[in-house]
Symmetry: C2
Subunit: 350 residues, 2 copies
């Protein structure tokens, strides 16, 4: 286990609960004027003048959402923040505060938690987010991380998944499927390592997809980009499960249908190559893989000229009347119903 590699081991009980929180968070700085008071009281105090607030929460459980045999704790801390910020950005809001609670067993020394919080702090700095609260407690088994993220925006900017209209264009940011293929590569290397612990994995050919799995980035840049392009998205959702699952959420909430074009789905060349190596269909991976933390949104057709040249944004389909349903239009021009096969949090990976 990675957390055992560190030669320095300080038992958590040496600090006690309050000492531990104070120690882990002492180097965190407050960046937002909306944070009136952060860690250190019964609750944090925030103030958002003339803005609406968005709030979202996620719970990550060892052995279900992450595997410490290949996920360094620093990356885990970073990723846990990204998972939550992605939900804030998916409301077309700006993220400003998080709370972080952890339950941790005694097998983790203090140094392991310092690594975890170093990753959380890097995320806070890179994304300009204030850590304003949390809870630290013991667990009888593994590590559990619960993060709540707070964001804000003026009311008319906030974008839900319920307001797509027929004929709107469906747009995705970045490329998809990479995080899932990174997971496949890491799982394979874990099996190899189990058979021969002396085998050193060469992950160089898989660097992009492994990084997408271990250190994803949330799309903080999309809200200002759309504002700069003068595009107001008509609906928005983030891609935490597979693309098909998220499209179906958008369709259901907005009461519309959708045509998704297989040949438009943006895939990184490394994803295509590794899918061939694993004998997997890259479209299936893009539709069902998950953990990409890209944004999926709709725009009015009138806004198409404003986005068409942007390398961050790809039009992958268009919305239809609800009664037409949600379909994938394949490269062979056949129309097949979209099915949600996204990764299900209630069926553990292992």
């Amino acid at each position: 286990m990675l957390e055992d590699k560190d030669p320095q081991r300080t038992a958590l009980s040496e600090l006690g609960e309050f000492g531990l929180i104070a120690h882990l968070t002492e180097h965190f700085k407050i960046a937002h004027s909306s944070t009136i008071k952060g860690i250190g009281d019964d609750a944090a105090i925030l103030e958002f003048d003339k803005q609406q607030l968005v709030i979202t929460t996620d719970l990550l459980v060892e052995g279900v959402h992450f595997d410490l045999s290949y996920m360094p704790l620093k990356h885990l801390g970073y990723k846990a923040v990204m998972v939550n910020l992605s939900d804030v950005y998916a409301m077309n809001a700006s993220a400003s505060q998080i709370t972080v609670s952890i339950a941790v067993s005694n097998r983790f020394p203090l140094e392991a938690l310092e690594d975890l919080y170093a990753g959380i702090q890097t995320a806070c700095i890179n994304y300009k987010v204030d850590l304003v609260g949390g809870d630290t407690t013991s667990s009888n088994t593994g590590l559990v991380i619960s993060i709540t993220a707070v964001g804000h925006a003026v009311a008319k900017e906030i974008t839900t998944r319920a307001t797509a209209k027929p004929n709107d264009l469906l747009v995705v940011t970045g490329d998809i499927g990479a995080a899932y293929m990174g997971y496949q590569v890491l799982e394979r290397e874990k099996q190899v390592f189990a058979v021969n612990p002396n085998n050193q994995p060469d992950l160089e050919p898989y660097s992009y997809i492994v990084e997408r799995q271990l250190k994803p980035e949330a799309r903080k840049d999309i809200k200002p980009l759309l504002a700069q392009l003068d595009v107001h998205p008509t609906s928005m959702i983030d891609i935490s499960d597979g693309l098909s699952s998220e499209i179906l959420h958008l369709c259901k909430a907005s009461e519309v249908g959708c045509n998704l074009f297989e040949d438009k789905i943006p895939l990184d060349p490394q994803v295509i190559q590794v899918c061939e190596e694993f004998e997997l269909d890259s479209t299936t991976i893009a539709l069902s893989g998950g953990e990409d933390y890209e944004l999926l949104f709709t725009i009015s057709q009138d806004d198409y000229p404003k986005i068409k040249a942007n390398p961050n944004l790809t039009v992958i389909g268009h919305m239809t009347e609800e009664k037409e349903g949600a379909h994938l239009i394949t490269r062979a021009n056949t129309k097949i119903p979209l099915i949600a096969r996204g990764w299900n949090a209630l069926d553990p990976k292992e």
Copy 2:
């Protein structure tokens, strides 16, 4: 285990993650105009006009914070909400929204989670709080509950633990020590049950203290009471750990000392009686027991006439200059330093 008693068992995997959240939350209603959008999108949307916001979070872990062998799931759901609301009330704010995340192993059938959410819903109704989000995931072992609570107040009402002044009076709500003695009784009955499962415990003589442990109530009533009495507390904290631990937090944050009078500590007669039965010192229990969820606050001496007749409020001491330290003045009029011996979340009960 209590969760196994229910004859009806529906596997969680029959519903899937989204079906499960929808099922568990379908009967929850929105009561606050500040809740613009609750469950069902990437994030909830809130709006607090000209008010500051307080936010607090707690993580409860099976086997550390609760024991399902005597804690019914419905009570657990209720208590988990109380733990968080208590932190909001401790800011002298009104609670308005919560998010609830749970990680749960397959040994829990759907009916167990329905019980848990029934308790959460009762708390939401009784305390007029909206459930606006959360996450439901699997766990490899026990149950983990993470709740974040949001409250609000105008800026000048919000009261931290950092603003007590020397000569302020120290006031506690209700009575203390009962929750801890309820825990002692339940632990004893658990041991008896382990030896003889046919033995039916008679908890009737312990009804008050057992209820304080299993179904505590947060002090929603104190903010309006103080407003009605025209008293503005100068500092405030809730009593989740023992009284001495919370007094020391208050002293440290406010840079003051304190004299606490042993003979003023409010104890229920049942606590005194059960302490005798268990051969425990009731003052020690009050100082170190924890889980009372009462409020501890300071007021200016000028406000004493306004509160002195109120049965909910007891003056138990006064603040001093920081250099004088924090002391207990015993019934024998000896002065001994206060030590934090509150229940430490990093030393599991079991």
